[in-house]
Symmetry: C2
Subunit: 430 residues, 2 copies
């Protein structure tokens, strides 16, 4: 049940000896990761998290989630970046596209749009609401603004009872949110100090809202734990996450500077966004990095497809597909066959979709786009957990191969500094 | 009420004389567009469409929409590419983020996912459903599959009445869908023969589902008509759509080969996707074209922000903002000020959001990213219409400036050929 890289379409672009040339570098980087001796090693808590997460904490999360599910129509998750994208990604992938029933999980504090917040406020009118505020410091501007406004709404709606409907996920000891939680008696969960935002989806950051939304979080963790052991193999040729990382860097070094993450499964849209943060924020520094972009086919074959086929040749494409046919829909016979589809009548949609993928890979490869293919056996919680960990491990390796720290994000501070100056925040005046 | 380009951040990257050097080329390309003498001129029907669309057709669209609204819970729009992205874009921009009430408009036929279609079928169970099938030929694989399956569902649910719940938008005379409509007596609307998919949002393709969804389509057209007249000005320095096109090409020629469309308004997400098709499919050919990507801030400041600030320098950024503060939400005072936000108490969210944008533009410009800024006075249907036309006009100009036909998409055929071969479509066997 592991994620495999299919080299069918990349063989003509990258020779085996190019990979072999990286073996030592990969082995050294593997050692850096596992011995925690590389740049940013203090943020390697995610590495053995799936196997070491405590049962007591998991049970407490499940209890909190059950409580929310029992008395809440809408859970508002307040968070930005890694406190938002992982939950959204898994929700998109595993829950029905048109709503799962049960407690609805929506997001706030990931933008500063007054329009969005007003629409959210009108959406929750008359409903039973709970908040899950996720922020290490509690002072990140976007979620802090949303929390201030929504906390006021909660107090107006529930009075003293509001505190029983607010769950805080934050640092164990430090920060404004920890203080607020301790003072008001909010239920609280810990963001491990050694796990950065974009590597945090498998901690309480993602697990609590996902459990509320109806995701089987134990299976998610099981899949991640399997990935943790499988991908601890130091040998490049036997470790698919490292192979993915190595191919990326080989292509990057040849001038393929944009990676297009592609899937024929629309439920992958959220994973694509999460993946962009993971790789963009980990690698996009010191003037380096593959630019991460994404498409959902076949929608985008009728949109970005033309560019992929014939545009500027600086792209490579990574296609994620799910092997097992988990659906029953077949194409019905039609006497008149006006649309000419009767040749498909004995085929399932899955078969047609997989064929469309192969056809696209062939076309784009012929058009000069190197294609990496990642095969996931099945679309379920366990495999989702595996896939998330696969990308995190690959990202750490890829960043070390390109010579940058996978775990910092110094460039994110610049806009904040400017914003504080322009808004006249005390201590930041020009 | 026109869309203006703010040159504040681009001045340090592009000198006025670089623009001036393009004036003659722009004038010649303007003539090509308006005299219909350039490549693909047979697809210039969109150019004067907003002013020439007939009142009778508009009324008929509104009547059909009213009928759907009166007896339907869910309208399923079946279409791909331009038959999907424009409607989704305007819906996202103008309707409430958490649902508008009234008839729900959802999409099918824009992917081949069995999972998606099964979730859709379970979503519509027990509801009153109508279909709007949009396809020029009626044989494009993705929408044809969805229509075949959903038509069967409709016949099972409504028997002979199903025909009164199916609306077809297709070619005036030709194609499988026209034949099916004539035979079954479906209400039908025409996709003008001289307007390609990605330029079709203001025709019946977009207007019918948008009217059902609750968009004021007359205001949308009014805004587009204002753009049509305003942007008919041949002078580069007085035509903001041409200025946008010229800046893009100047930056492209300097190696800025990725354009990141950015907005601080989450409702812009759909416009970003529509814009990617418009520019990607129009310009991405013959090994040329700026690669179109997009972000929604400040979500993506905590994701792609690091890359934008410090990653490989091949990017420029186009920020779309809405000037007027149309919301009331202010940040409440908090005695304890644990989050340190009291310095924002007299500011509206809009003001903070606009400041975040300026702070980001400053930061990214300093990081070596040229910033184009497009200012839209207000977020409403009229301005949406203006903005759509603005991009279409800019795209035609930009493609001519880069020497390609803005209206064809030869590369989209390749995956289809392969797919037909692999699926054994009669006439395409290997």
């Amino acid at each position: 049940m592991t994620v495999k890289i299919n080299t069918k379409f990349i063989q003509e672009f990258v020779e085996t000896n190019e990979l072999a040339a990286l073996e030592d570098f990969v082995a050294a980087s593997h050692k850096k990761i596992h011995d925690k001796t590389g740049a940013g090693a203090e943020y390697l808590g995610w590495l053995d998290w799936p196997s070491k997460m405590e049962e007591a904490e998991l049970s407490r999360l499940e209890e909190a989630a059950e409580k929310v599910k029992s008395d809440t129509d809408v859970l508002i998750v307040i968070g930005i970046g890694g406190s938002y994208l992982g939950t959204k990604a898994v929700q998109d992938l595993l829950l029905p596209a048109f709503g799962a029933g049960g407690t609805e999980v929506i997001f706030a504090g990931h933008n500063i749009s007054g329009r969005y917040l007003e629409e959210l406020l009108s959406h929750i009118e008359g409903k039973k609401v709970a908040l899950n505020v996720i922020s290490k410091s509690g002072t990140t501007t976007e979620p802090a603004i949303a929390f201030r406004i929504l906390r006021k709404w909660m107090v107006d709606a529930y009075g003293e009872e509001a505190a029983n409907r607010i769950i805080v996920t934050t640092d164990e000891k430090e920060g404004a949110l920890r203080k607020a939680a301790d003072k008001a008696g909010y239920t609280s969960f810990v963001i491990p100090g050694d796990i950065g935002g974009r590597y945090s989806v498998l901690t309480s950051v993602g697990l609590l809202p996902l459990a509320v939304a109806g995701v089987d979080i134990r299976s998610l963790l099981e899949g991640a734990a399997l990935a943790e052991s499988t991908l601890a193999n130091p040998a490049l040729m036997e470790n698919d996450a490292y192979l993915y990382a190595a191919y990326r860097q080989i292509l990057n070094s040849r001038g393929y500077s944009v990676e297009v993450m592609a899937s024929f499964e629309p439920a992958m849209a959220g994973i694509n966004e999460w993946w962009k943060q993971l790789f963009g924020e980990s690698e996009g520094k010191q003037g380096k990095g593959v630019f991460p972009a994404s498409v959902i086919y076949s929608t985008d074959l009728h949109s970005m497809g033309q560019y992929l086929q014939d545009g500027r040749r600086m792209l490579f494409e990574t296609m994620v597909s799910f092997t097992e046919d988990q659906n029953q829909t077949e194409i019905p016979f039609d006497e008149e066959d006006g649309d000419g589809l009767n040749y498909l009548v004995e085929k399932s949609l899955h078969e047609v979709n997989q064929t469309a993928m192969e056809a696209t890979a062939l076309a784009h490869a012929e058009g000069g786009v190197p294609i990496l293919s990642l095969e996931v056996p099945k679309l379920d919680a366990q495999h989702a957990g595996y896939l998330l960990y696969f990308f995190m491990k690959a990202c750490a390796m890829s960043a070390y191969l390109s010579g940058v720290n996978p775990f910092d994000q110094p460039g994110v501070e610049q806009y904040k500094q400017n914003m504080f100056e322009l808004l006249g925040k005390p201590g930041y005046e020009k």
